[in-house]
Symmetry: none
Subunit: 259 residues, 2 copies
DNA sequence: GAGGCATTTTGAACTATTTTGGTAGATGTT
DNA sequence: AACATCTACCAAAATAGTTCAAAATGCCTC
């Protein structure tokens, strides 16, 4: 394992546990105490954590922005999404047609899907997801058309809506900005309009949401949770949220993010 | 595999994974550790990533916003194309609608156009060009839709053709794989079909060709040189080629590049 | 175009450096 | 005092740097 990755995982554990012993870290990561000690010393020097006798504790400013190693921060933030994405990709069967909504979590699914060795057909309204999937020669990748929201990679507008509206797909991977026990919502009318089409166009709607989205509400509702066939999230979801969703009969699957 | 392609793929992997070991890259791309090391060192020197022991980490601030400009810079890797692209961008007037064909030379034009401070509307069948242009909030960027040729960023097929067919644009920047004094040609039927639509859809067709394309012939003709309103090329074009084109009354403009 | 020469690129072998995991004694904690 | 943790050091492993021959590419002449 790469030193940088190892350190990122140490911080990840620390964020979840608040404090952890070197011995536990050594066992959890499968590396020697000596290496853990060196890594923790390095991270203390860089200001990511504080040392105690026999362990480390997370510093308060760990959640704010830190400059020196942006990659570490990114790794932590995207760990949940990457895990959800990987689980999502596993659901694709050979020959199926798959819709990929635009978004960071669905992008993680696309990355994982691009690594599969099975053929399938994909359509997306995100140019980044498109170029990612098209790297794999087994994946027939189509793009919806439409107009790009400036500064993003998302295609919206009438062309995008029409492209999706005339499709019938096996699976749709859909993301959402916010979710309550009953309602999915996002930030703009155009986005909501398109997501509504995604929900309608697929036999099986799989919602990809990391645990930070529960339970919030955004400007525009685009569907009900009952329209979701499977909800993929990470294990940091609260017990309350789990219970509320199960009450409504929503199939829920959690992916573990602690190593 | 082409060095530029290889480096682009390394960056692609890095964007997805945040950090990778050289060993993994070597296995994933099927090339030796030595070559990976050289590529990664080169990319570090150019500022696309940073090195760690045994691997590389992404320097991109946000892992989700991939950097089309960087990708384009890698794809172009030619002073002639960059110069032609810069000259092309200068031709855009405020408020015009502009079509960008897929290709490395037109990508250079898109890159330069994204740096302009005037508003215009753009449509393209290349997802890399699209995401590059969309970085500029003054540019309203649309994408044709269609299916991606595996390993490229080009959208083709009926959707792409239909999107272009119903347009009327002020300018079309079109590239070509080969050019003779009379005929423009490219490598596949699908490509040719779409380029034909580009020629028909714009009031002013501007052909962007670096001097290496004279005079060659590719598999599929898609138009005549007489359909071209302005031909932009570099100063390495031969005198013979210049004469032959001028004989046919084609307006020709050369951009200076170092010999 | 075809063939031959120069240049660049690639992959492998080898050496130098860094990193890792273990050990022993010193230091700190309960 | 008993135990755990820390520091310092060492050998083994992994990685970086260097060099070189083979392969690929570009270039020129015919």
């Amino acid at each position: 394992m790469l030193p940088a990755k190892r350190r990122a995982r140490i911080l990840e554990v620390l964020r979840a546990e608040q404090m952890v012993s070197l011995k536990d870290l050594s066992e959890a990561l499968g590396i020697s105490i000596s290496t853990v000690r060196r890594d923790v010393d390095y991270l203390e020097e860089a200001g990511y954590l504080s040392r105690t006798h026999g362990g480390a504790i997370s510093t308060a400013r760990a959640s704010t922005t830190f400059e020196p190693e942006a990659a570490i921060a990114l790794a932590i933030e995207s760990a949940a999404k990457a895990a959800i994405g990987a689980a999502a990709a596993q659901l694709i069967q050979p020959g199926q047609s798959v819709l990929f909504d635009s978004g960071t979590t669905t992008a993680a699914a696309a990355r994982a899907a691009a690594g599969l060795t099975i053929p399938f057909t994909a359509m997306t309204n995100d140019v980044m997801i498109a170029s990612c999937l098209s790297q794999n020669a087994l994946v027939q990748t189509s793009v919806t058309g439409g107009t790009i929201r400036s500064g993003t990679t998302t295609l919206l507008g009438a062309d995008a809506v029409n492209s999706v509206a005339r499709l019938r797909a096996d699976i749709a991977f859909v993301g959402t900005h916010a979710i309550t026990p009953d309602v999915l919502s996002d930030t703009s009318l155009e986005l909501a309009d398109l997501k509504r089409r995604f929900l309608a166009a697929a036999d099986r709607v799989i919602l990809l949401v990391d645990s930070s989205k529960f339970f919030n509400r955004a400007f525009c509702a685009f569907g009900e949770t009952s329209a979701v066939d499977l909800l993929l999230t990470d294990s940091r979801i609260s017990a309350d949220a789990t219970a509320a969703l199960k009450d409504r009969g929503i199939e829920l699957r959690m992916v573990d993010i602690a190593p």
